[in-house]
């Protein structure tokens, strides 16, 4: 009888024995695992430096076995710039929420993209400030009820939500910008491919690479994980359409 081989295991980039502290059903766990698998597969773990952010993602360094620094709220891509400029041979990435990336950190995020810094940014978009209890954030959908939009987001009081991947794609320094979803197994596979592509683009030094991940917050949305994924499909994906918004390597292939 042939020897058994293990085909599924925890990635080396996940800290041994660590337990995610995310709420049950939250997509953060899936997203972190995908990033870890990609680091493993590309052999980047022991060369990588993570810049963690503020929000539910703050303790990412407790789950990932990579060198990490925790940035003040919104400043992750400024710190990532500093890390990369000081140590250009390292793989540098951020893992941020939509509030960190596109509200308090919008200037740092877009300017990092405009400079074409060779870093990778992963942004979890769950349409709310999760850690502080579900307030209105930059990606909260029109009509969405949060603790600070009790009658739903209306334009008069709150203005419009931001389409992050599209904005990042407009920056000339961006090499890759994609939006993916974790609502189904096929989409999770696509998400992993996008994350992998982003890191490969950094390895080639082609510019800023970005993946926005549509994600759930069952706790603050007051939904079961299944209902939450239905919301991603029915309410988020029509507005935040998954897809690749910029890929300079694909453009090159067309030519």
């Amino acid at each position: 009888m042939a020897a058994l081989t293990q085909t599924f295991k925890m990635p080396d980039s996940i800290k041994k024995g660590s337990k995610f502290s995310f709420c049950p059903g939250c997509d953060h766990g899936v997203a972190v695992r995908l990033v870890a698998e990609v680091l493993d597969e590309l052999g980047l773990r022991d060369n990588a430096i993570l810049v963690a952010s503020i929000g539910c993602s703050v303790t990412l360094y407790d789950f990932m076995e990579v060198d990490s620094i925790e940035a003040p709220h919104g400043r992750a891509l400024a710190e990532a710039t500093g890390v990369k400029r000081a140590r250009p041979e390292r793989t540098v990435f951020t893992y941020q929420g939509d509030g960190d990336f596109a509200s308090i950190g919008m200037a740092e995020s877009l300017h990092c993209a405009l400079r074409g810094e060779s870093v990778t940014a992963i942004c979890i978009n769950n349409t709310t400030y999760g850690m502080t209890g579900g307030q209105l954030g930059p990606t909260t959908l029109l009509g969405q009820i949060t603790t600070t939009s009790p009658t739903g987001r209306n334009v008069d009081y709150y203005g419009y939500p931001v389409k992050i991947a599209e904005h990042v794609a407009l920056c000339d320094g961006t090499a890759y910008s994609a939006r993916v979803s974790l609502d189904s197994v096929p989409n999770i596979r696509k998400a992993k491919a996008a994350i992998k592509k982003a890191f490969e683009i950094q390895q080639k030094g082609l510019g800023f690479s970005f993946v926005e991940i549509l994600s759930t917050c069952p706790t603050n949305w007051k939904k079961t994980p299944q209902q939450a994924h239905e919301r991603v499909r029915e309410e988020m994906m029509p507005v935040y359409k998954p897809g690749v918004y910029k890929d300079i390597t694909a453009d090159a292939e067309v030519k």
Partner: protein, 359 residues
């Protein structure tokens, strides 16, 4: 003036801002991140050319918030990195300085003070003594603060800022003012005189053949944070014991001691000498480190001196530290100019004469 100054055998007549920038290059600064603000913009201008020429990192940051956080990022890898700014823009950096103190990172900030509060104006000022020594960030932290009073000291203390920042893993500010930034004096750029500090035990380099490292300030448990703060403050105590620095002239028999830092200390020194010629027993104590402040020495001098006069370009900020050190043993008077050039020698002499009549 933006031509290469990097190494010279002779003295060069150099503007304070260029002297600082060139000294940073000579100190081995690997990364400069900055955003322009008068009266220190020449530092970034010099660095933009020089760092690129030397194939070191230079970024025109989108804001001071970004600039100081880029410094944090670079320092987390053990690199020598810096930014430079002024008053209202240093105000924007306070959050990051608090993080850097907690992260124990060797951030170097050159702060060239201008008038405040708010936008204020671009005249020289010492209105940010409190901002530097007490800080505007949250939590119990201290920054090392160095105060030059000549252009040569701008060079020497820039070297020292990099050394102390790395030696103690503590953010360090060199606090100059607009007058020093724009002033030209002959300076010597000697080789960086300090030993290189080995950062390999903590720097982020990628977790190769070792457990991953984390540089963080988030401490979810109260117990951890108590331990951490005790450790941090033990370090500050060590810095006080080892690094407190000041210049002292004619204090031994002095009835009146002038205390002044930065550019006004120049006029205080001249005034002190004039008064000595008149037979008035005056001395000068010039703090070179503002944190650690020479409190112990001032306390000793307060046993014999009859009066202290704090000479500052602000509404009286350092005077609080002098009073704390003197601790009621002698009166502490203030001779200040709210903003602008330092009080003139004549003004200081007149005040000394007046104060000496009522000892």
């Amino acid at each position: 003036m933006t031509e290469c100054l990097t190494t010279t055998d002779n003295k060069v007549l150099t503007k304070g801002n260029y002297a600082i920038a060139n000294a940073a290059v000579m100190a081995g600064c690997e990364c400069y991140f900055g955003y322009p603000i008068t009266p220190q913009s020449e530092i970034g201008e010099f660095m933009s050319g020089k760092m690129q020429e030397l194939k070191r990192a230079y970024v025109s940051a989108e804001s001071e918030l970004a600039a100081i956080n880029m410094v944090i990022g670079a320092c987390s890898t053990g690199a020598k990195a810096m930014t430079s700014s002024s008053s209202c823009a240093v105000a924007l950096m306070q959050e990051a300085l608090s993080y850097a103190a907690s992260d124990e990172l060797p951030v170097v900030l050159i702060s060239v003070m201008r008038g405040g509060p708010g936008l204020g104006n671009i005249y020289p000022s010492q209105g940010d003594y409190n901002q530097a020594t007490i800080g505007g960030g949250n939590g119990d932290y201290k920054l090392i603060v160095l105060a030059p009073s000549t252009v040569q000291e701008c060079v020497d203390l820039t070297y020292k800022a990099f050394y102390l920042a790395h030696k103690y893993k503590n953010p360090t500010i060199m606090l100059a003012d607009g007058l020093l930034g724009q002033m030209m004096e002959p300076v010597e750029f000697k080789e960086y005189p300090y030993p290189e500090i080995d950062n390999s035990s903590w720097a982020l380099t990628g977790a190769k053949n070792r457990p991953a490292r984390v540089i963080r300030s988030y401490a979810p448990s109260a117990d951890n944070q108590c331990e951490f703060l005790k450790k941090l403050h033990a370090k500050y105590k060590l810095i006080e014991e080892n690094e407190t620095d000041w210049e002292e002239i004619n204090t031994e028999d002095a009835d009146i001691i002038l205390v002044s830092f930065g550019s006004p200390a120049r006029n205080a020194k001249s005034a002190m000498k004039e008064c000595r010629k008149l037979g008035i027993k005056v001395g000068l104590l010039r703090p070179i480190t503002l944190f650690p402040f020479p409190s112990k020495r001032i306390s000793e001098l307060a046993d014999t001196a009859k009066k202290f006069i704090s000479v500052e370009i602000n509404m009286g900020q350092m005077i609080r530290d002098i009073k704390l050190a003197v601790n009621g043993k002698a009166p502490v008077e203030l001779l200040n100019r709210p903003v602008g050039n330092p009080p003139s020698v004549e003004e200081i002499v007149a005040r000394i004469k007046k104060e000496s009549e009522v000892l």
